[in-house]
């Protein structure tokens, strides 16, 4: 690594626009050196992804650089001949994108795909390529790389697929890596492993890494410098420590506040209430649900005998990674799935044995807020119809009465009243989430299941939804079951926490106790994988103890 004059990546006054519209990126200026990790933070639509595509000169159709320049090692990317551009992509600048499973060719083996990239940049014989690919597979922590070489993408887990994509990025020995939300949608433990790997590889090989994310936790743990992008402008760029200590702009402060773990708010009224009621509102015993997969070849025990109780006014969080069976458990409680065995007593009534028409009368009291806000709303219905549908359960018939009720609900979840006439696709993700909450609250339920209430939302929106739920808890004395993998939100919302793994509850107890003194190794690992921004920044080294938990 001889010192060279020009930085690895220079972005100078970069402005990108689509057609005649307002610029998506507006006058961006920054540089990235070798052996440096720079994080870029911004919310959905801030223009982060466009930047990565611009650096490799593959802007989406209609987009064009209207001003400024991008230079890699002093060379202006846009001015390179087409063949040199191709050599640059993957050869010098490698891109790692979101959702690795979608980035891999579904009908080619992963080994051949990584090999294709090597062959495109460094022509070599078939056997050389193969051994090199297997070598890199091993480096990125793929166990049994020879066998994995022949695997198809659909046979891999999300984390494994992401490792393959990283291997694909490293194989041609690039100098700069652009990671665009590379760990979005992965479980926290997997996310930590993947980022540890990426960062340690970057440090080891002296690469420049541009880490694009909307998670300030990732920034604080892995990056040297951080840039904040808002509305296409880079509004702040400084070393991470300085940024965390005193952010300059109002927007940065907002982001930082939203990302911080909120203090537990529940000591005013909540603490004694659950203890006081002797009969639990919900009593689940030995709930089981199995699925037959692979055409009868295998059985998955999604929920494997879980038991818990929930008192009036209590909020329980069911925490686990994807595949732990937490969502299945929630669906069994609501009879959206028929449980195999066990018992669910709701307010003294056994509900598992009830027939659909018998249970319909109880639906009013048990409601759910679904995971993905958009797909849980009928795309052809207006908000007003969506919110008034469950009102039929309460027996309100009068049109005026219903209209008033819908307005009350819209106000309750702090939506503007004009949304009543809109369709789901015209709403933002946060608004869709609020409509889902309004639907669940319409019948005045005693118990609500929140299925992943904060996933796939931007930091600020997430904070707003958490505030809303907290407000509702306090105002309505709701009993709730939180199904989530986001431990941060749990801490501020739940009285008790149950940690699920492989269909079983491995640890169950009061929230603060679990956070302060987790008993199980798995719980500790989950907590360790969380990346709260306040965490001790001295431990900036990769958390290698996480490597082999799976």
């Amino acid at each position: 690594m001889a010192p060279e004059r020009s930085p690895l990546l220079e972005v100078e006054d970069l402005t990108i626009a689509f057609g005649d519209g307002a610029p998506v990126l507006d006058g961006l200026n920054f540089a990235l050196n070798r052996n440096e990790i720079v994080g870029l933070v911004g919310e959905t639509g801030a223009g982060k992804s466009i930047l990565t595509r611009a650096i490799i000169d593959l802007l989406p159709k209609g987009g064009a650089i209207t001003a400024g320049d991008i230079r890699v090692e002093g060379q202006s990317v846009g001015k390179l001949p087409e063949a040199r551009k191709r050599a640059l992509r993957g050869g010098e600048v490698a891109l790692i994108g979101t959702n690795a499973k979608l980035l891999l060719d579904p009908v080619a083996t992963v080994g051949s795909q990584v090999g294709r990239v090597l062959k495109a940049h460094r022509p070599a014989s078939r056997t050389e390529i193969r051994s090199r690919v297997i070598d890199v597979f091993r480096q990125v922590g793929i166990v049994n790389p020879e066998a994995r070489y022949e695997a198809f993408p659909h046979e891999l887990s999300g984390g494994m697929a992401q490792r393959v994509v990283i291997a694909m990025a490293l194989i041609a020995e690039p100098k700069l890596i652009l990671a665009d939300d590379a760990t979005l949608g992965l479980d926290a433990t997997i996310q930590a492993q993947v980022l540890d790997l990426l960062v340690s590889k970057g440090r080891e090989l002296g690469l420049g890494v541009l880490l694009i994310t909307h998670d300030l936790g990732i920034i604080s743990h892995y990056c040297d410098r951080v840039g904040i992008i808002q509305g296409g402008r880079l509004i702040e760029l400084k070393p991470v420590d300085q940024f965390l200590d005193k952010p300059e702009t109002e927007y940065s402060r907002l982001l930082l506040d939203a990302a911080k773990v909120r203090p537990a708010p529940r000591d005013q009224s909540g603490d004694d209430a659950p203890a006081a009621s002797i009969q639990p509102l919900l009593d689940v015993k030995e709930l089981r649900k199995t699925f037959v997969v692979d055409g009868g070849q295998a059985v998955v025990r999604a929920v494997d005998g879980i038991s818990f109780r929930l008192c009036k006014g209590e909020t329980l969080a069911l925490v686990g990674e994807s595949g732990s069976g937490k969502t299945t458990a929630g669906q069994c409680l609501l009879k959206l799935l028929q449980a195999d065995s066990g018992s669910v007593m709701f307010d003294g009534t056994e509900i598992l044995g009830l027939r659909e028409h018998e249970f319909r009368r109880m639906r009013r009291r048990l409601q759910v807020v679904f995971q993905e806000p958009y797909v849980a709303l009928n795309p052809r219905w207006q908000v007003v119809d969506l919110i008034s549908e469950p009102l039929a359960l309460t027996g309100q018939r009068g049109g005026a009465e219903r209209a008033a009720e819908v307005t009350r609900l819209i106000d309750l979840v702090h939506l503007p009243r004009r949304v009543a006439g809109l369709y789901p696709h015209q709403l933002t993700a946060g608004e869709q989430k609020r409509v889902g909450i309004a639907r669940a609250l319409a019948t005045g339920p005693d118990f609500v299941v929140f299925d992943e209430p904060t996933t796939a939302l931007d930091i600020r929106v997430r904070a707003q939804i958490i505030d809303l739920v907290r407000e509702l808890q306090a105002r309505m004395g709701l009993s709730a079951l939180f199904i989530t993998h986001d431990l941060n939100s749990v801490r501020s919302l739940a009285h008790n926490v149950a940690v699920m793994r492989h269909g079983k509850i491995v640890e169950h107890g009061e929230t603060e106790q679990i956070f302060a003194r987790p008993k199980e190794a798995y719980t500790r690992m989950l907590l360790a994988a969380e990346l709260p921004i306040e965490a001790n920044r001295s431990g900036k080294a990769p958390k290698t103890e996480l490597e082999f938990v799976r």
């Binding site: 595509r53 050599a87 992509r89 993957g90 994108g97 980035l103 579904p106 994509v165 694909m168």
Partner: protein, 319 residues
């Protein structure tokens, strides 16, 4: 297959009129009809007749054609290669043209091929194949005289090549019979062109949609961002578009069989389709029944092949 036989059998039982009467013609005496009914077993219960019919089919006996007086199976076997040759060449041309046009249209979006293919895709679905055939005959044979006359698979003055595969082109090549090769190849041009013009449109439209979606998908974008050359990218996108293309090709085989009925009639092709039309026109029900049975069996075979190919094309589908 059992269902097919069941249906073709009852189809023929639904016929208005007495088969015995049909066989003997209007001049038959009542005694003759009674004795023939006896001989054909028409007085037995319908289930007995059905079982007997199944037994016959199992032994390769599809009945006797009223019109040609030959066993239906023999008639069908004689004519099958003609139809197969037509369909196979048409299919080959359809796949090559349909896929090539679609890929070019997607890769060079907004180009001349793209725009022309849109118009063609719309028009091809609207043009009746028999009418295309007539126009081709009129222009290429009557006006320009570049195409041979629409009378059969080979010049009437030439003896057909020795039968090896039943495909005239291949047989004449194998036997080194150049006159037969040139004549039969020439005769194939118009009917194959007809079928291709009509069918390539459908395949082109589907391929354009499927390939277009794949070509804009995340993994192709990522492949491009990894610096793969365009030829590798197109190949990989095409490879991913195969499953729906295979399905449509299978479906088109069935469609071609139907289209062959029309086209063969126009070109006096002497294949299965023309035989079926004769059967309809002459109320030759055993022949029609046999043709339907063979057509269904052919389709079944094609669909089975499609299923097998599908598994090769898409590793996500388990055998």
């Amino acid at each position: 297959m059992f269902g097919v036989m069941f249906a073709t059998f009852f189809l023929i039982r639904l016929l208005p009129g007495d088969p015995a009467l049909l066989l003997l013609g209007n001049m038959a005496t009542p005694e003759a009809i009674v004795s023939l009914r006896e001989r054909l077993g028409l007085n037995d219960s319908i289930w007995v007749q059905f079982v007997r019919y199944l037994d016959n089919v199992a032994h390769g006996d599809l009945g006797t054609s009223i019109f040609t007086s030959n066993p239906v199976l023999q008639d069908l076997l004689e004519r099958a290669p003609a139809t197969l040759e037509l369909i196979c060449w048409a299919m080959l041309a359809t796949v090559i043209i349909g896929v090539a046009v679609a890929v070019t249209a997607v890769v060079r979006r907004g180009g001349a091929v793209d725009r022309a293919s849109r118009i063609y895709g719309l028009a091809a679905g609207a043009i009746p194949d028999f009418w295309v055939a007539l126009l081709l005959i009129y222009f290429l044979f009557y006006l320009l005289g570049v195409a041979p006359a629409p009378f059969g698979r080979i010049d009437a003055l030439l003896p057909p090549p020795n039968r090896i595969t039943g495909f005239y082109i291949i047989d004449s090549l194998l036997t080194g019979n150049w006159d037969a090769f040139i004549s039969s190849a020439g005769r194939l041009v118009l009917p194959v062109l007809t079928l291709t013009i009509v069918n390539a449109g459908a395949l082109m439209k589907l391929t354009r949609t499927v390939f277009g979606d794949v070509y804009r998908s995340d993994f192709i974008r990522h492949a491009r961002a990894s610096g793969l050359p365009e030829s590798v990218i197109v190949r990989s996108a095409l490879r991913n578009s195969l499953p729906p293309i295979i399905t449509l090709v299978g479906f088109l085989f069935g469609f071609l069989l139907g289209a062959a009925v029309l086209v063969e009639t126009l070109f006096a092709w002497g294949g299965l389709g023309q035989y079926a039309v004769q059967a309809v026109v002459n109320s030759d029900y055993p022949a029609l029944q046999g043709f339907v049975l063979v057509a269904a069996a052919f389709i079944l075979l094609v669909y089975m092949t499609v299923d097998i190919l599908y598994e090769f094309a898409d590793p996500r589908i388990k055998v």
